[in-house]
Subunit: 528 residues, 2 copies
Amino acid sequence: MTKQDTRVLGSHKGYLSGSRPDLRVPVRRVHLTDGRDVTLYDTSGPYTDPEVTTDVRRGLPPLRAPWLAERAARRRSGDGLTQLAYARRGEITEEMEYVALREDRSPEFVRAEIAAGRAVLPANVRHPEAEPMIIGKNFLVKVNANIGNSAVTSSIEEEVEKMRWATRWGADTIMDLSTGKDIHTTREWVLRNSPVPVGTVPLYQALEKVGGRAEELSWEVFRDTVIEQAEQGVDYMTVHAGVLLRYVPLTAGRTTGIVSRGGSIMAAWCLAHHEESFLYTHFEELCTILREYDITFSLGDGLRPGSIADANDEAQFAELRTLGELNRIAKAHDVQTMIEGPGHVPMHKIKENVDLQQEICEEAPFYTLGPLTTDIAPGYDHITSAIGAAMIGWWGTAMLCYVTPKEHLGLPDRDDVKTGVITYRIAAHAADLAKGHPGAQRWDDALSEARFDFRWEDQFNLSLDPDTARAFHDETLPAEPAKTAHFCSMCGPKFCSMRISRDIRERMAEKSAEFAAGGNRVYLPVTD
Amino acid sequence: MTKQDTRVLGSHKGYLSGSRPDLRVPVRRVHLTDGRDVTLYDTSGPYTDPEVTTDVRRGLPPLRAPWLAERAARRRSGDGLTQLAYARRGEITEEMEYVALREDRSPEFVRAEIAAGRAVLPANVRHPEAEPMIIGKNFLVKVNANIGNSAVTSSIEEEVEKMRWATRWGADTIMDLSTGKDIHTTREWVLRNSPVPVGTVPLYQALEKVGGRAEELSWEVFRDTVIEQAEQGVDYMTVHAGVLLRYVPLTAGRTTGIVSRGGSIMAAWCLAHHEESFLYTHFEELCTILREYDITFSLGDGLRPGSIADANDEAQFAELRTLGELNRIAKAHDVQTMIEGPGHVPMHKIKENVDLQQEICEEAPFYTLGPLTTDIAPGYDHITSAIGAAMIGWWGTAMLCYVTPKEHLGLPDRDDVKTGVITYRIAAHAADLAKGHPGAQRWDDALSEARFDFRWEDQFNLSLDPDTARAFHDETLPAEPAKTAHFCSMCGPKFCSMRISRDIRERMAEKSAEFAAGGNRVYLPVTD
C-alpha cells in the first residue's frame, strides 16, 4: 500500500532533523513543476514512507522508546514524569523538540506553553509508537477523528484500516469509541499501529463490564478499566466528571435532554444512587493514575447541548464551571488537561463558549465537537458543523472533533471518514489563516500561484485531496494536454479570466515601458 | 415528475392566501406524525404541485400578468414602474404583499425596506411567470445558483432541467451564465420555465457577438444585448461598471490578477482603448433602459480577489467605492440595485467587507460569492465557501451565490448543483438563526424534537434533503421497524443517550412527586 499512497498524494515523505539522530520529524514535500518544494505537516505516519515496511501484526516501530528509557534511568523517585512536570521544571523533552520542529516554533516556546497549561502533548509512556504532536491555541489547529465499532457493525481490521485512512487524510488524533465485543483487542491493534495519539472514553468499556446497566457502575470497575487502558497506551481519556447530581434537573426542560453518551450514563447513575458521581468524588485518585502514565485528561462536557434550542444554557455552563475546578485539581497533580466543548450552537452564541471556557479553565486547550450551526440538515452535518468549527477554531479552540455526513443517522464508512477529515482540515486551516498562524498562508499562496500559472498538476498535488481535484478536472477535460492548457472547462478559452488577466499584465508591462519615456502619468496607482 | 417530487420531499404543496384570489403564496407543508404541520418557504414552483400540469414547451402560467396589466392601465405617462418607484410613493404592489406573506412580515415593512434601498424585489415586467421574492438583510438570506452551458458542454434541455432541479432544492434565484451557442434560445427556455427570478451577465453574450474579441466591444453592441435580454424578461443583470481604467494597474501585483470574467473583459477593453469603460460612461443611459423593465442592477465586483493573498486589497476597495457612486445614480433613476461581493477572503477579513459595503452603498443588498475562506481545497470549495457565506450572511449579506464542488475544476453536473444548493441553504439558514430572524429557529426546534422523540420519518421529512437523510439511515439499519426504534445504529440500544435521557426525565418526574411531600430540597436548580 505504501507505493500507491505516495503516488496518489503526489508528493514524497521527508524528514526534518533534530538534535539527535533518532529525532526525525515527518513532513510531506510537494514537488512543484517549477522546481520548488512546498513542505506540509504530515500525520500519515510510516505508512506513506516507501522506505519503511510495516506489518499490522507487529505494529509500528516504538520511536519514543529510547527517550523514555533514558528519562526513566535519570528519574528520581517521586519525580513526576508528565510532559507538564518536565515543562514546569524547565526541562525540554525530546517530544517538545519534536513538536517544535513540526510546528516551526522554538522548543522553549513549546515548553512554556505546556508549563502554562495552554497546550498539551498527549503521549502515554506506554504508547511509544505515536509521533509527538501538540494541542494548544498557539499552535496549528488540530483535528480528531472518531472511529470505533458498535454493537451493530465493524471488525477489528476495519477499525485499524479506518484509523490508518483517517490519519492519511490528516487526522491529528484518533478516538477509539468502540462499544461492541472485542473492545480490548480492537484497541490494542489500533494503538500498536497508530502514528497519532489515541483517545478513549473508558466509561464505555466499564459499562460493558456491568452488562450495560448504568446503575451498577462503580469507582472500582471504572478505575480498573482506566488502568487496563492506561497499560495499553491510551494517550488521552474523556472523563465526564463534571456531571453533578444537582445539574441533572437543569436538563429537564431541554429540547433534547442529555445527548452525550457519557453524560447520560453518569446522570442516570447519579439519579439511581442519589449521590455525587464517583468520577467527581474520586477525581484526585484518578489524577494519580493518569499522572503515572502521562495520560492527558479530556474533561468531557456531558451536558453539552444537542440542539440549537439548548445552546449555552444553564446546564451547559454549570458543568463548565465544574470542569474549571477539576482542571485546577488535575494541574496540581501535573496531569495535562484539555476541556471538551459543544455540540450544537448557532453562530452568534459560539464566541461566548470559547471566551467562557478560556476564562474558567485558565486557557486550557478547548476541544470541541463542531459545533453544528443548525439542526435542519442531517446527512450534511459535516458542513453544518464545519462552519462552527472554523469559527470556534479562529476564536481559540485548539482541537476540533470531526463530524461525518452520517452524524445522527448511522456509522461512518470509509468514504465518510475521509469526507469528515478533509472537511475538518478545511475548518482547521481556515482558522489557522484567520489567527495569522505563521506560515499558514504559504500553502494557499502556493496553490493560488499554481492556479494563476495554469500549473494544473501542481494545483492538484497541493490540494488537501489531490485525487478528488484531479478526478473532477478530468471529468470534463480528460485529455492529458488539458492539464497544461491555459484555460479550463468552466469558461473555455475565449472567456478565461486568468488568461485575459495574464494578457493584461503583459500589456501593462509594455505600456509601462512606453510611458516611462512620457512621464509615467497614467499608470500611477490612484489613492483617493 | 410532480408525483414523484412530492413523495420524495415527504411533504405537500400548500398556499397562503392574500388579499385577492390570484395572490397565492406557495409553501411546503411537512406533515408530522403527531398531527402537526410545519410550514416551510418553498422555491420549487408549480412543479411540485400535483394539481398543476406543466409543459416545458408552453412555460409556466404568467401569475403576475393581471397585476402588471392593471398597473399599466392606471399608469400615467412619465410614472416610474419599478418596485422602487412604487415603494417610494407609498404604494404597496401585489408583489410586495406576496413577499410579505412569504416572509411573515407586514406589507408596509416590505415597502419601507424597498423604498430605503435596503431590499430589492427583482421582477422584470416581461417575466410574469416568476414568483415574487425579496432580497435584503432584514429578510431571509437568499441563495443564487449559477447554471449555463459553456462552449464545451450542455444542451438546452439540460440547462432547463438544472434550473428546475436547483429551485427544487431551494435556489431563490438562478443566474444563466451561458456562453456557448444557442445562448438566446437557452435563456428563453429558462425564463419561460423558471419560478424564480433570473439573472444574467449581458457582457458574455455581447462578447460572443464580437467574436470573443474584447477590444471590439462597444456601447452599442452592449446596449442592444441588454435590450434583447430585457425583452426576454431577465430580472437582474450583472454589470461590471466599476472597473475603471485607473484601477487596472492596482491588480498588477496580485497573486491571481483579475478572476472575474466580466472584470477581466472590461479591464482588457479599457487598456486596449485607453479610455474609461463604456459601462461607466453610459451608465445613466443604462439606468433608463433597466428602469423601463424594472430590471435590478447587480453591480459586479470585477476586481474581486481570487485568492486569500489578494483579499481586501486596494483594487477591490477602490472598485467598491465606485460601485457606491453608481448605486446612488441608479437609485436616482428609481432602479433597484444590489452590489456584488467576493470571492476569496480569510475569516478575519470578512466582516470588513460587509461593513464597508453597507457604509459605502447605503445599505444596498450585498450579494456575495462565498467567500472561500481558504484556497487549499479544490474539490471541496462548496465547503471552504459555505464557512465564509454563513458568516457574511450573519453580518448582513442578503444573498449568497452558491459554489459547487466543481469550482475551479469543471462544470457542475446535476449532483453538484444539488450539493451546492443544499450547502448554501445550510449557510443561509445558519445566518438566519444567528441574525435572530423571526421564526427561523422553529424549523430547527421541530427537527430536534422529532430526533429526541425518535420520530425518524418526521426527522427525514423535515430535513433539507430528506432523500439523503433517509438513505444514510437505511444503510446501517434498513429494516422498517428501525424507523420507529428508540435507538439507532450509532450507539445501539444500550448506549443510546437519547433513550437514557428520556428515562432520566421520567425518573425525575417520579422523584419530584416523591420529594414534593418532603419539601423539594434536592431538585431545585442550582444557580451558583
